[in-house]
């Protein structure tokens, strides 16, 4: 619409921009929270294992089941944890993020839906 073409950033009387709407801010917040959580847990665990490998080799070499030591068990745990984090994140994203995105795009206020 011609009105939007002429809009300048100072023009605060225009219809609310979709980027300011609470639905979008909610989406941004949700995505930030879940990505932070996934990275802290997933990368954090792996980082700890890497540090232990470098700085606590005796601990990592301690045998647990036969010759299988703490280190290998931690590495196995890293595989499992990484898979779990990925699945949990994606299920959350498919449910929550996508619903929030729908809320943003089907906009009741100020203008036609974007799709």
């Amino acid at each position: 619409m011609w009105q939007t073409r002429m809009e300048r950033p100072e023009d605060a009387t225009a219809t609310p921009r979709s980027i300011d709407r609470p639905e979008f801010r909610a989406l941004v917040r949700a995505r930030r929270t879940s990505s932070r959580a996934a990275l802290v847990v997933g990368l954090g665990f792996y980082g700890v294992v890497s540090l232990l490998a470098g700085y606590a080799p005796a601990l990592m070499s301690r045998r647990v089941v036969g010759a299988v030591n703490v280190g290998f068990l931690l590495i196995l745990a890293t595989y499992v944890l990484t898979w779990v984090v990925a699945v949990v994140y994606v299920r959350h994203a498919n449910r929550v993020h996508d619903r929030l995105t729908e809320d943003v795009l089907v906009s009741p206020a100020g203008g036609q839906p974007s799709r």
Binding site: T4, R5, E7, R8, P9, A14, T15, R17, S18, I19, D20, F24, L27, V28, S34, S35, A38, L39, G42, L43, Y46, G47, V49, S50, L51, A53, G54, Y55, P57, M60, S61, R63, V65, G66, A67, V68, N69, G71, F72, I75, L76, T78, Y79, T82, W83, A86, V87, Y89, V90, A93, N94, D98, T101, V104, L105, S107, G110, G111, S114, R115
Partner: protein, 528 residues
């Protein structure tokens, strides 16, 4: 016996060329050339990603490391899996939503600047070439060793094949070669693991006990290869940050219709490739036990032949028909693996040269679709020639350095720029330039003065410079933005970039209609 190996090689080659022929008939547009038409399913892209990521470095390198060095090999392998978490939660979906064919599209979309695009292109090309050369060299060595064709001829052969795959079949051929090869790798890996397990009564502990009694407790301890205590962490950081900066991996996310399929395809990848990486550890230990570290070292001091030697042994041993057939199959799969990866690298580099530099920077976007496709195809010829030249020069060089370098540059020069473009309001074009420069110089410089190049006399103590160069890359990008003039327009624009990145749609009342060619809004997407 060499004839048998040769025959199996030819069979594999025939399959890939058949795929290319089929793909060529379906490649009529730039969308098909760069993104396979954009309609891949999560499973297909996941398998292709796995095929792309389960490279010869994983197949031969991880198994070799585990065979010679025990736990450090396992750390490498798991790192390659964890590497996809940052891609999954930070990069994949925004990239899919804001770019068209290349990674630099995303940077250009945010910055609206050809300079920013060129800086990103520089980072992409350095990474791609650094990744490409060891693949070529590896293929040359492999073919020479197992089929008897001299190194130089093998290099020319691989270079020519990759040009044929991509010039004719584009991303469609690349995708399906990656899928086929991924399936083969998983099958062969499973066979080797199950066979080994069977020999130990399906008790995995038995394998560990065996190598432990054979080589002593020190073998299964950490630190046999990653001797500096910070090496493991630097390696992990390399994988975690660098993978999200590898253009040939990231462009795979343009082959799916939307962000949701992209994220689901990563889950597929993580299970498929992750399982494979876990297998490499078992296979490596198995090789150490059955073939013996001495024999592995004798065949190749870097350990790259551990897996093929195990296959030969399980098949019946050297000289037997079973042994030779199994070895030939493994070698042919390794060769196909390399071809699939170099094809992906070629598509990515072609995108950088044809789409980024020629179409967008030089011609400002004013190029017909057919001309774009033509330039894309011809650029692969140039890339192939360069790859062959570099591959010939690389003979005898320690190519492991280059692989480390590729991921390090990706972590230090590419990753900071991608992340800051997507998430930081204050990021400016100056920041892009300084980030790429600092990241490139620090990672390359530190690798050259590190143990991989200088051995025990190294000035810099870590094999992997990423622990130092990635923070430097971030610092360069951040300081470059803060110390230069503010980009008020860019900061206002950031909200719209963010909207597009998260939702895949343009913000309403978007005031900046944009007339520059870098404004990649004409997003070709298949209709929902």
């Amino acid at each position: 016996m060499k004839l048998l190996t040769f025959a199996i090689f030819l069979l594999m080659l025939g399959v890939t060329l058949g795929i290319t022929y089929w793909a060529a008939r379906r490649t009529r547009s730039t969308s098909e050339f760069y993104t396979a038409g954009g309609g891949l399913s999560a499973g297909q892209n996941g398998m292709a990603l796995a095929g792309d990521w389960m490279s010869a470095a994983a197949f031969l390198g991880f198994t070799g490391l585990a065979a010679l060095n025990g736990m450090d090999g396992a750390l490498y392998a798991v790192g390659a899996l964890v590497a996809f978490l940052p891609i999954l939660v930070l990069v994949a979906e925004p990239l899919r939503n804001t770019g068209k064919y290349t990674v630099s599209d995303v940077i250009a979309y945010r910055m609206q600047s050809p300079h920013a695009r060129m800086a990103s292109v520089a980072g992409s090309i350095v990474v791609n070439l650094a990744y490409l050369v060891p693949q070529m060299a590896g293929a040359g060595v492999l073919i020479q060793l197992l089929v008897g064709i001299p190194y130089n001829v093998s290099i020319v052969l691989v270079g020519t094949l990759m040009v044929v795959y991509v010039a004719f079949g584009g991303m469609i051929a690349t995708t399906w070669v990656q899928i086929v090869k991924g399936v083969l790798l998983l099958v062969i890996g499973s066979v080797l693991v199950v066979w080994t397990a069977g020999l130990f009564g399906f008790n995995p502990v038995g394998l560990f006990d065996a190598v432990d009694s054979q080589y002593g407790a020190g073998f299964l301890a950490p630190g046999n290869y990653l001797t500096n205590p910070l090496d493991a962490l630097s390696l992990g950081l390399s994988f975690a940050l660098g993978t999200a900066g590898l253009p040939h991996v990231l462009i795979r996310f343009y082959t799916v219709p939307n962000a949701k399929v992209a994220r689901n395809s990563i889950v597929w990848l993580m299970f498929l490739a992750g399982s494979f990486f876990m297998m490499t550890t078992f296979i490596g230990l198995s090789a150490a036990h059955f073939v013996g570290r001495a024999a592995i070292l004798a065949a190749d001091p870097a350990g790259n032949l551990a897996l093929p030697l195990l296959a030969e042994h399980l098949g019946g041993g050297a000289g037997t028909i079973g042994g030779t057939v199994f070895l030939a199959i493994v070698a042919a799969i390794a060769f196909t693996t390399i071809l699939a990866v170099v094809a992906g690298l070629t598509v990515a580099t072609s995108g950088a040269i044809a789409h980024d530099v020629y179409v967008n920077v030089v011609k400002g976007g004013a190029v017909s679709e057919q001309q774009q496709l033509r330039v894309a195809r011809w650029s692969t010829v140039g890339i192939g020639a360069t790859a062959i030249g570099l591959g010939l020069l690389a003979q005898g060089l320690n190519v492991a350095v280059l692989v480390i370098l590729a991921i390090s540059v990706a972590a230090s020069a590419n990753f900071p720029v991608i992340v800051l473009s997507l998430f930081w309001r204050r990021f400016t074009t100056r920041g892009v330039l300084s980030g790429v420069v600092v990241g490139l110089v620090s990672s390359v410089g530190l690798a050259l003065i590190g143990p991989a190049v200088m051995g025990p006399d190294a000035i810099f103590p870590l094999i992997n410079p990423t622990l130092v160069s990635a923070p430097l890359g971030f610092a360069g990008a951040i300081l470059g933005s803060l110390l230069g003039p503010r980009d008020r327009t860019g900061e206002r624009r950031f909200a719209e970039v963010q909207f597009r990145a998260y939702t895949g749609e343009d913000a309403q009342e978007s005031a900046e209609a944009g007339t520059t060619a870098d404004h990649v809004i004409d997003h070709e997407r298949p209709t929902p």
